[in-house]
């Protein structure tokens, strides 16, 4: 029984859990994005990204497409990045985020169970995690997000 168990790290257990005590500093202001702000959105996709992360470029076009969805807000968390580089990245590829925050030391991301980027978490207005995506979003992931929010 135990020998057949898959020992690879999986994040499925996070689905159905509620996120709490979040406080993410806005990218441009000395203000914080908190739980109350998340509760205002029907659905939020929290996307952890950085300009130095190559797979983040790969998923960016899908994020741009998702930003057009009316029932979904995109919360970007710029992870361990340099501000100038991050701005250049968004100027070049476009800014899909409704809210942009930063996590310079990566400590805030631990509260979301992040262990590498890109990672995305889909939450509802009750702050419940509906799905977690490890690695760049694929077209299948895009379809599943659209299906959940509509």
């Amino acid at each position: 029984m135990g020998l057949n168990k898959d020992t690879n790290y999986k994040t499925n257990f996070l689905t159905g859990k509620k996120i709490s005590n979040i406080s993410l500093e806005y990218f441009d202001e000395n203000k914080f994005y908190k739980e109350e702000d998340l509760k205002r959105n029907n659905y939020t996709l929290i996307n952890f990204w950085a300009s130095w992360c190559l797979p983040c470029r790969q998923e960016h076009s899908l994020l741009i497409q998702l930003s057009k969805e009316k029932n979904l807000k995109l919360l970007g968390v710029n992870f361990k990045d340099k501000k100038k580089q991050a701005e250049m990245f968004l100027n070049e590829l476009g800014n899909p985020y409704d809210f942009l925050t930063k996590d310079e030391l990566g400590k805030s991301s631990v509260k979301f169970g992040i262990f590498g980027i890109p990672e995305s978490i889909l939450v509802n207005k009750d702050l419940m995690i509906l799905k977690k995506f490890v690695g760049p979003l694929s077209t299948e992931d895009y379809d599943s997000i659209v299906e959940i929010i509509n």
């Binding site: 135990g2 020992t7 790290y9 999986k10 994040t11 257990f13 996070l14 859990k17 361990k80 030391l105 990566g106 400590k107 991301s109 631990v110 509260k111 979301f112 169970g113 262990f115 590498g116």
Partner: protein, 120 residues
């Protein structure tokens, strides 16, 4: 007088021992946390980006007054039991924890009855 002095020494000793117990050792915690992006390394052994971040968070949690147990519970809540080398007892793993003790007790009982039968 002697009794009072003895009591004071005992109390002081007790509080010292308790104080030692409450002290949270950062390195012990690092050693008992798995680096999720490494091959079989602990947070203490690894210099990966993930390990560095976890070390910072552990430091913050200690400064916030969290106990070793609370820190493991926090990490397990965020990353699952897999992150802790010595997982806490829960519904999923209690058999794994208690089976050796059960086997020991059962073995003892069997040996006891075998000896008893031999004597008879």
């Amino acid at each position: 007088m002697k009794f009072k002095l003895l009591m004071i020494i005992l109390l002081l000793n007790f509080s010292l021992v308790n104080g030692e117990e409450k002290k949270v050792d950062q390195n012990t915690i690092h050693k008992n946390l798995r680096c999720l992006v490494c091959q079989g390394q602990s947070i203490a052994d690894s210099n990966s980006d993930f390990a560095q971040t976890i070390k910072l968070v552990v430091k913050d949690l200690i400064n916030d007054g969290k106990t070793e147990r609370e820190i493991y519970a926090f990490m397990a809540d965020k990353y699952g039991d897999w992150i802790v080398f010595k997982p806490q007892v829960n519904k999923q793993n209690f058999i794994l924890w208690f089976l050796p003790y059960l086997a020991l007790v059962l073995g003892g009982v069997i040996i006891f009855f075998l000896f008893k039968r031999r004597r008879n």
